[in-house]
């Protein structure tokens, strides 16, 4: 009976060491809800025990059922027939089980039927689900569109839409992308207009919409006629299915279970969410934190399974009269994979907690304002957390999704020719991982989003404090390497700033963001090694590898490697 939560020692370690105290305190509001709901916790320990049990259930469903169905879901795929989208039969079963287990409205308040779980726990569930079947995550993860309704909709809209998600009756879709508006969402054209009674309607086409056949659609549309940029866009919610036409679904490389739809809105009735003109600049921006974290967790889940498959195969496969696991070159690749996984997991959940706390403080401030109480202190902290989230979210998405591609690539390599065959799971994992560094913002866009904080050295004080800290045991000598990486970073930063060349800075951004990433992750791993001495192996390899990479990043930046960008036309003719 495999359980994807309890059988993963690193995930258990991370769970045990989550710092959720403040998050729980805000979310549970003095633990008053226990009077009303028999499933509300009594105190912090009780809440944490609940989270563990929830993840145990998700681990059971994913390990024993979803994973078993994943190959057939991939084979069968979502289908389009007579204007309707049909999930693969395994997907239908999966969604039914998740709904029976109350998992389709994880983070929403109990008042609407949700479990009121922290975002961090929701992200852990996404990791588990993605390990079993990445394509299921796309449908499961879209429960998150209800978060936008929760935060920015009015009470009537919350009552109308959220309970259906929590019961598992609704799935959702986030309709942002259009044929001419992909990475550049400012170019969205889909037209939103009002009749004389004030009812809104939507008209136009959306493309590449994951689960566009869903029951409830969150739609970004141009409500301000004559405008051309993001300030003319508003957010709408509407019923899908019969109100929206699915024109076709895409035939994709991977995540076959997840239907990617082209949607046609023919005067579809819709409701405005929040304020006009805030669609892109506020609401999409806000949902992107969660959406990007979701994809980062999806990437980690896929990578974890690729590692498990590679490790199992390496132990079973015999060549030259011995298991290939005993061949140093193979073991070395496996260790690299394991180190990357644990580093990625440390990063993912550190960021998840940051975003989690940011959201909880936002909610708390709204309440304090309503009660006419002072919120200055909370506001100062929130500002800092927003800055950190703005940097860490794209950083995590960039690092984890690129890494998942590398890990699945290596996992297939360990399988040799066998891995290239459809009969083996690793081939699907390679295909499924490939989308993660593209959707919800390509890696290149994540770099753009993360660069500002790196240029401003957002974590300067944090790193300085870490450098002065007296690390014990095996972690102690590793601090010096991180100090060296920080010197390299500072040196590169000076060079970039002094150069005052925008094109150069754009290209070099990747290297400097990576440098900053080594530092952030490196210290997370050192902190882990202090708690669990065996983790020093992970920290050691991660930091030594990072130092070598840092030198390369530095050379790329400083040795004129990118000077030929100016001559791109000549080189590329």
């Amino acid at each position: 009976m495999p359980n994807f939560f309890t059988d993963n020692s690193d995930l258990q370690f991370v769970f045990d060491n989550l710092d959720l105290k403040e998050i729980i305190e805000i979310a549970e509001d003095d633990f008053e809800q226990v009077k009303q709901y028999n499933y509300a916790p009594r105190d912090i320990e009780d809440a944490k025990e609940n989270y563990y049990k929830v993840l145990e259930i998700v681990g059971d469903i994913t390990g024993n059922f979803v994973a078993e169905r994943a190959a057939s879901v991939d084979e069968e795929g979502a289908k389009y027939k007579d204007g309707t989208v049909h999930y693969a039969s395994g997907t239908v079963e999966n969604l039914k089980q998740l709904a029976q287990a109350d998992m389709m409205g994880m983070s929403f308040p109990r008042k609407y039927g949700g479990l009121n779980l922290p975002f961090t726990i929701y992200i852990m569930s996404i990791e588990l689900i993605s390990r079993a079947d990445a394509s299921l995550m796309n449908i499961f993860g879209l429960q998150d569109i209800a978060d936008t309704i929760m935060k920015f909709g009015n009470e009537e809209q919350r009552q109308e839409f959220i309970p259906g998600f929590c019961k598992g009756e609704y799935t959702g879709a986030m309709a942002l992308t259009e044929p001419d508006a992909g990475s550049d969402l400012q170019a969205v054209k889909l037209h939103a207009y009002q009749d004389e009674k004030g009812q809104w309607f939507l008209k136009g086409v959306k493309r590449f919409i994951t689960n566009g056949n869903g029951d409830i659609l969150l739609v970004l549309a141009r409500s301000e006629a004559g405008t051309k940029d993001g300030r003319g866009l508003s957010m709408f919610v509407c019923y899908g299915k019969d109100n929206v036409k699915v024109r076709r679904i895409e035939n994709k490389l991977g995540i076959h279970g997840s239907p990617t739809c082209e949607l046609q809105f023919n005067d579809t009735p819709a409701q405005l969410i929040g304020q006009r003109k805030f669609g892109l600049i506020k609401y999409v921006f806000d949902l992107m934190y969660r959406a990007r974290m979701g994809i980062a967790a999806q990437a980690l889940g896929i990578a974890q399974e690729a590692y498990e498959e590679a490790l199992k195969y390496a132990k079973e496969r015999e060549q030259f009269g011995k298991s290939i696991y005993t061949i140093p070159v193979v073991a070395n690749i496996l260790i690299d994979m394991r180190v990357a996984l644990e580093a990625n997991r440390a990063l993912l959940y550190a960021v998840a907690q940051t975003v989690d706390l940011k959201e909880k403080l936002e909610g708390k401030i709204v309440k304090l304002k309503e009660q006419g109480k002072p919120f200055g202190e909370e506001n100062t902290r929130l500002k800092r957390l927003v800055k950190e989230s703005n940097f860490l979210t794209p950083l995590a998405k960039y690092i984890l999704t690129e890494s998942a591609n590398k890990i699945t690539f290596d996992a297939l390599q360990i399988h040799g020719g066998t891995g290239y065959m459809h009969e083996f799971k690793v081939e699907r994992l390679v295909r499924d991982a490939r989308i993660t560094n593209i959707y919800e913002g390509t890696s290149q866009l994540q770099i753009v989003a993360a660069t500002g904080a790196v240029i401003n050295d957002l974590f300067a004080e944090y790193f300085e404090a870490k450098e002065k800290k007296d690390y014990k045991g095996g972690a102690a000598p590793l601090v010096n390497h991180l100090i060296e990486i920080r010197e390299i970073y500072k040196d590169c930063l000076r060079y970039m700033v002094d150069k005052r060349d925008n094109a150069f800075q754009d290209v070099a951004a990747k290297d400097i963001v990576e440098l900053y990433g080594y530092l952030y992750v490196g210290y997370l791993l050192l902190d882990q090694a202090e708690i669990e001495p065996e983790k020093v192996f992970i920290a050691n390899r991660y930091i030594l590898t990072s130092l070598a990479k840092a030198r390369m990043n530095s050379e790329s930046i400083k040795d004129g490697l990118f000077n030929d960008i100016l001559h791109a036309n000549k080189i590329l003719t």
Binding site: E49, V54, M103
Partner: protein, 295 residues
């Protein structure tokens, strides 16, 4: 509205046996084995829950077993059972199917008005498939064994499909009726997260007595009352509660005596090569005859 009582059993995880698990008297040493929810009973519970969803009513799970059997009763609550009963008494120990069905049938009589009694076809430890049928006899109600599907319930009648050799038959019965259920009939639902959070602290009388024993500030009556108020009390019935005849319970009431238990290990060490010729096959047949495997 139809009420169901589901008989469930905690069984040793026979797929994961290690060490000496049989006692010298031929009974199973349950303390040495990881205990799990007998799969077919879980299927029976699922079927009962589906009937509740379709027709209304309630689902009550009952188990006879040692104190730790309350683990599976909590699991019944996690899946959706409305009430659960632990039937437990030291004097029930060592019961065979006759004694077990006596205790269970007396408990069921006491518990509620019911339309269905569900049970798994058999438990993976005893493999007798007798407790269900014997309970039906003692309750003096009809039984449908080897149920594959409940087709319809109406006018106090049930139509169900049951497995027979080489096929199936569709049978009809009046209610109340006892059904034993096969393992692949339906897939048991996962635990509901809300119910796990709500019932993870549910405790039986015996578990509460232990709490009280270890803490002089706690009084058992008060504890039971508190747990009842919160909906966390696993109703517990003992021999006295059921006013049972001592001589019909436990090892005293069990005519089945295990004479000997042998652990048969099929070793791979004594492989014999057989030539794929007529003579080779002939020799093999002779050998099997001598060993009384054939003939």
């Amino acid at each position: 509205m139809y009420n169901s009582i589901v008989m469930v059993k905690q069984v040793p995880d026979t797929a994961n046996i290690s060490g000496k698990v049989m006692k010298d008297d031929g009974t199973v040493n349950r303390a040495k084995l990881p205990a799990i929810f007998n799969h077919e009973d879980r299927v029976a519970l699922e079927l009962a829950l589906q009937i509740k969803e379709k027709y209304g009513g309630k689902v009550i799970a009952v188990t006879m077993g040692p104190p730790r059997a309350s683990d599976i009763l909590r699991e019944c609550l996690y899946m959706g059972a409305d009430e659960v009963y632990l039937i437990s008494d030291r004097k029930f120990a060592g019961a065979d199917t006759l004694a077990t069905s006596y205790v269970l049938s007396e408990a069921i009589k006491k518990i509620d008005n019911y339309h269905f009694v569900f049970a798994g076809r058999q438990a993976i430890d005893g493999d007798t498939a007798q407790v269900g049928p014997q309970t039906a006899e003692k309750l003096k109600i009809p039984q449908i064994t080897y149920t594959e599907e409940v087709i319809e319930v109406s006018d106090n009648k049930i139509r169900a499909k049951r497995k027979i050799d080489g096929g199936f038959e569709i049978v009809e019965s009046t209610l109340p009726v006892l059904l034993t259920v096969l393992k692949d009939v339906v897939s048991p639902r996962p635990f509901s997260a809300k119910r796990v959070m709500a019932y993870k602290n549910a405790k039986s009388l015996i578990e509460l007595e232990k709490l009280a024993e270890n803490n002089s500030l706690l009084y058992i009556d008060k504890l039971v009352h508190e747990y009842e108020e919160r909906g966390h009390y696993i109703k517990t019935l003992t021999m006295d509660d059921l006013q049972l005849e001592d001589s019909r319970c436990g090892i005293k009431g069990s005519p089945t005596k295990v004479y000997k238990v042998e652990s048969v290990v099929l070793g791979g060490s004594d492989h014999v090569g057989i030539e794929p010729t007529k003579a080779g096959i002939g020799e093999l047949i002779d050998k099997l005859m001598t060993d009384h495997i054939f003939g």
